[in-house]
């Protein structure tokens, strides 16, 4: 059964068509990737799925339930949670309390929320920082905190907006291992990523978007060889040169 089914999704900002008739299906347990040049409409798709924008047309089904028109917090309750590309920590709270806000999604009890948050922090190797203020965290740790908060809400589908951005190669390796384990625990992932290494080694399905339209879809290495994709990323000239 499809966990996520997006059909004919369209969003316009004035005269600009940011997303144009986008389709995508994800099965439970899959890792999907969303790539494309800057401004292609990837983050807009995330904003549409998570309820921050209302689509002009199209449907978003999650477990056969239509998400269109629901507010972000209701969508989070249903099990679809997104992270932000530019991390948005709660600055005047400690690391633990940041995660507890997420954990309260599934419980009303502060004690349970705290226990669950400590587990998540342990898993993401942030335990020793739990009482630290956000200012003292490095950018890598802030990205992990963003992930920790989302995980604490106990999602079924996690939308990751460039979690590997700004990390060095060894940090990317760590992150890949973490994401694999999250996926193994039964969380379906959909990720926007610029770091090809991450997406190529994780995703089993990639959709490429350019100017709001899907130009290719399939397994990572098939997609990367697709002439349309090469053209979108590197331009016409490269295409011609390779043909010769």
């Amino acid at each position: 059964m499809d966990l996520l089914r997006i059909a004919n999704l369209t969003k316009k900002f004035g005269g600009l068509v940011a997303v144009n008739g986008f389709n995508l299906t994800l099965e439970k347990g899959e890792i999907g990737g969303l790539i494309g040049p800057n401004g292609a409409g990837k983050t807009t798709i995330f904003n549409l799925i998570s309820g921050y924008f209302k689509p002009d047309a199209g449907e978003i089904y999650f477990s056969e339930e239509n998400l269109v028109g629901l507010k972000p917090d209701k969508i989070c309750k249903k099990g679809v949670v997104r992270t932000f590309q530019i991390v948005k920590p709660f600055f005047n709270l400690t690391v633990l309390k940041n995660v507890m806000i997420g954990a309260f999604n599934r419980t009303d009890h502060p004690g349970i929320s705290e226990k669950r948050s400590l587990e998540v922090l342990e898993f993401l190797e942030l335990s020793d920082k739990k009482d630290y203020p956000i200012e003292s965290l490095t950018i890598v740790e802030r990205k992990r905190l963003e992930l920790a908060r989302s995980l604490a809400t106990q999602p079924q589908l996690l939308l990751l907006d460039e979690v590997a951005g700004g990390l060095n190669p060894s940090e990317v390796e760590d992150l890949i291992a973490i994401l694999r384990r999250i996926n193994k625990d039964g969380v379906t992932l959909l990720m926007i990523e610029h770091v090809m290494r991450t997406i190529a080694s994780l995703a089993n399905k990639i959709a490429v978007i350019n100017y709001g339209t899907k130009i290719s879809e399939g397994r990572p290495f098939e997609v990367l060889k697709d002439p349309n994709v090469v053209k979108a990323y590197l331009g016409e000239a490269y295409q011609i040169a390779e043909d010769k």
């Binding site: 917090d73 989070c76 949670v81 992270t83 932000f84 929320s113």
Partner: protein
């Protein structure tokens, strides 16, 4: 506990003037604590607390004036009315996406509208306000006393209550959610926080308390007038919270204990020279803002932490 006992026996040793200062200190600590739940914890620019304060004062006073209803009941009714008005104000604003400083201006304007209405409706007493009909002797039921001591205990009790309620809320899921909304509304929503609901709840609670404060003030002065809705009350409440530390449990209380005596005493000593006490008051405010921008409460907390680690270190060193 020691502090509690101290404040309970204190009135036995104070004369009427200092009792008055203490009552005003408690009252403003209470009001500022109530405002801070909305403006500090949830971070909404609620710049019209005097509207709710005035509604509370006028409701109980008018009910007593026209229907001889006990001000205690009037206090409750005023509280509920204030709560409804506050929630409506917040709901309508967010319905039309009036946010941030624009919400602030809307609430500020609302308090001025209330003031204008009261000024121009004769049933509400117009410019002169309403004098509470005096009754003979002390009466707890009618909320009227000749001495100041009963008012001292009532206002002290209300201040302690407001601290206790905040202390309780802080530990619940709601308390966490309020702070999350203040820090980042979008991020909070992404994590499943129903931001509208968790803005309306603290607004309702805060306004309930603000309106009850209006009744207390009216019973203490034994009259209400349109000044209850005025900007000065709003500023006094907000400034105490800012000076003590916005969004902290004891910040507004500390702010009131510094500012209220200061304002009362400077008025007492320099009242002869018109405006001088306001100037001194202003200079002291500026100094606090300059050197302790995050509030006295936050600074005290840091000082306490520092001293604690300092002494711990010393003990370990000598042992």
């Amino acid at each position: 506990m020691v502090l509690l006992a101290f404040f309970l026996i204190l009135p036995l040793y104070l004369d009427a003037y200092f009792l008055h200062i203490m009552i005003m200190t408690f009252l403003f600590a209470y009001l500022s604590r109530s405002w801070d739940l909305i403006g500090g914890y949830t971070g909404q620019n609620f710049w019209g607390p005097s509207a709710i304060f005035g509604i509370g004062g006028y409701t109980s006073t008018l009910l007593f004036f026209y229907f001889k209803l006990s001000p205690w009941l009037g206090m409750l009714i005023g509280g509920i009315l204030g709560m409804i008005v506050g929630i409506l104000l917040c709901y309508v604003s967010s319905r039309f996406s009036v946010k941030g400083i624009y919400f602030g201006l809307a609430t500020l304007t609302f308090s001025q509208i209330c003031m204008t209405i009261v000024l121009n409706v004769d049933a509400f007493g117009g410019v002169n306000g309403v004098l509470l009909p005096l009754i003979k002797g002390n009466s707890l039921f009618q909320f009227q006393f000749h001495g100041k001591i009963p008012y001292y205990y009532i206002s002290f009790f209300m201040m302690v209550l407001s601290i206790y309620v905040m202390h309780y809320i802080e530990r619940t899921k709601s308390g966490y959610y309020y702070v999350a909304i203040r820090e980042d509304e979008d991020a909070a929503q992404a994590l499943g926080v129903d931001t509208l609901k968790y803005k309306l709840i603290p607004t309702g609670i805060g306004c309930f308390f603000l309106a009850m404060g209006g009744t207390l003030h009216a019973q203490y002065l034994l009259f209400v007038n349109p000044d209850f809705f005025g900007l000065p009350f709003t500023i006094e409440m907000i400034i105490r919270s800012i000076l003590g530390g916005v969004g902290t449990l004891f910040g507004p209380i500390i702010g009131s204990f510094i500012l209220t005596p200061l304002s009362e005493i400077s008025r007492g000593f320099l009242g002869g020279y018109r405006g001088v006490h306001m100037m001194i008051y202003g200079v002291i405010m500026i100094l606090f803002m300059l050197f302790l921008p995050r509030g006295v409460g936050t600074w005290l907390e840091k000082l306490y932490d520092y001293l604690e680690s300092f002494f711990e270190g010393k003990i370990r060193f000598s042992g």
